[in-house]
């Protein structure tokens, strides 16, 4: 009993939206099921549908052009004449659309007067009732199937998102593991960099000589000026090799990684210079950080 009352109240709250035909699909099944057994809600729905239809009257009537009006009129009368004529195989022409009203879902009460149909002389009330029941069951089934389809689709999307997240975490974890090895492995040389211009600025270069991987970590790096960037250099006796550019985070920390093969004895020093945003082929300013390779 309580369940019925709850269903009634829920349906009642949705009738206005249903009358306007704006009730979300997921909410329709319960309301339609309730309407099939509740005359009170059906009457309220009919009243609300009549109310909704009045909104059309708020629109100012607009006359079609004479030619347009006459063309549509002629088309309609031609179709009507053809519709009255018997078809070669004796069948009636199918109807164009269902009536846009929930009235068709429910049996008519005896008090409701309907007009006889020109092509349905033998139609009886029980046939209409049966058709209505079939229509109702079909509508409810359709809504249910759509809802289940939506549920499965949502679950599928969630599963895909979870798989993507797991893959992403796995990649991230592998990257972290590699970083730890590049920083702490037995073949890693560490070069400390110091700054003459910024007292608090400090950095270290971790050179994994077995993997030719360079990991540069810096702290308290000042934000670079607009249009400028920091560039990392591997300094040998013959050249200064760019190991890439980097920018500090908001907290002044910076990390840069590069892969470059270099003989153990070739590296003299590591340096950082201030360069144009796109980087330079060779250093163009005095280094703000320098670290001498003491392991040669």
């Amino acid at each position: 009993m309580t369940g019925e009352r709850t269903a009634h109240e829920k349906a009642r709250q949705a009738l206005e939206a249903l009358a306007l035909d704006v009730l979300d699909v997921k909410d329709q099944a319960g309301v339609l099921t309730h309407l099939a057994s509740c005359a009170s809600c059906r009457n309220e729905l009919a009243a609300l549908q009549a109310t909704a239809a009045q909104l059309s009257y708020a629109v100012r009537p607009v006359q079609m052009s004479d030619s347009q009006r006459d063309r549509v009129r002629a088309l309609l009368l031609d179709r009507a004449a053809a519709d009255d004529a018997p078809t070669p195989d004796g069948r009636t022409v199918p109807e164009p659309h269902p009536t846009p009203s929930f009235h068709i879902l429910f049996p008519h009460t005896p008090a409701e007067e309907t007009l006889p149909h020109k092509n349905a002389k033998t139609a009886t009330t029980w046939v209409a009732v049966a058709a209505c029941i079939v229509a109702l069951v079909s509508a409810v089934t359709l809504v249910r199937v759509r809802r289940e389809r939506d549920t499965f689709f949502t679950a599928y999307q969630i599963a895909l998102a979870r798989n993507a997240l797991v893959d992403s975490l796995r990649v991230s974890l592998e990257e972290r593991n590699r970083l730890v090895v590049n920083l702490t492995g037995s073949h890693v040389a560490v070069i400390n960099l110091v700054s003459n211009s910024v007292a608090s600025l400090s950095a270290r270069m971790f050179w994994d000589q077995s993997a030719n991987v360079w990991t540069f970590v810096a702290h308290n790096v000042p934000a670079h000026k607009t249009g400028r960037t920091y560039q990392l250099w591997l300094v040998t006796a013959k050249s200064k090799i760019s190991a890439g550019t980097f920018a500090p985070g908001l907290n002044g920390d910076a990390i840069a990684r590069a892969t470059y093969a270099l003989p153990k004895s070739a590296l003299i020093a590591v340096a950082v210079t201030d360069e144009p945003a796109q980087g330079s082929a060779q250093p163009t300013s005095i280094p703000i950080l320098v670290g001498v390779n003491s392991t040669r």
Binding site: V72, R79, D84, E95, K118
Partner: protein
């Protein structure tokens, strides 16, 4: 001159002349509703044709005790127009026609004059009832009725919570129902 119910009875018997008379009487209003929903003239003619064709084919479904003939007719017109609009989905990319809704029906034929008297009164009542609604409730009804948006879509469009939209729909419809009843009673 036959009233609408009489015309529909003739339609049900296959009277094409009555069908023509019914079309002559109501095509301006059906045209206006289709134009208001579609906002482009291209598809309106087809919607008008399909609306009247559905009336011809489904006359027996009209329930005399339930609604006025024109209410039934306009319900069909709205449904056909929204169907075409959903299929086309071009509205948001296209600007409104400037002259939509500004063309007034010119009286002339007997049936148009009769339609004018009744629909003008209905229009007056509908506009008066709508005018008494708060602006946000009117806006929700506009989006629902003339643009065919679901409650969730209205919430997305307006940026309002779904619960707020549902409450506005309920409140607007109940107020409208009450006001229309009172205004019709006063007009009698």
């Amino acid at each position: 001159m036959a009233d609408d119910a009489a015309l529909l009875r003739q339609l049900a018997e296959g009277d094409e002349q009555a069908f023509g008379a019914f079309y002559d009487r109501w095509n301006p209003l059906v045209n206006a509703v289709a134009l208001r929903i579609l906002r482009q003239r291209d598809d309106v003619e087809k919607v008008v044709e399909e609306t009247f064709w559905q009336v011809w084919r489904q006359t027996e479904r009209y329930e005399v005790s339930r609604n006025a003939v024109q209410t039934w007719l306009l319900t069909i017109a709205r449904s056909r127009a929204l169907e075409r609009r959903h299929t086309r989905k071009q509205l948001r990319e296209n600007p409104l026609d400037d002259d939509i809704g500004d063309v007034v029906v010119q009286g002339g034929t007997e049936s148009n004059l009769a339609m004018n008297v009744e629909s003008t009164e209905r229009r007056r009542v509908a506009i008066a009832a709508l005018a008494e609604l708060p602006a946000e409730q009117r806006a929700v009804l506009e989006l629902a009725y003339f643009e065919g948006l679901s409650q969730s879509e209205i919430a997305d469009r307006t940026g309002q919570p779904l619960g707020t939209i549902k409450a506005r729909v309920r409140s607007a419809m109940q107020k409208l129902k009450g006001r229309l009843f009172i205004l019709r009673e006063e007009a009698r």
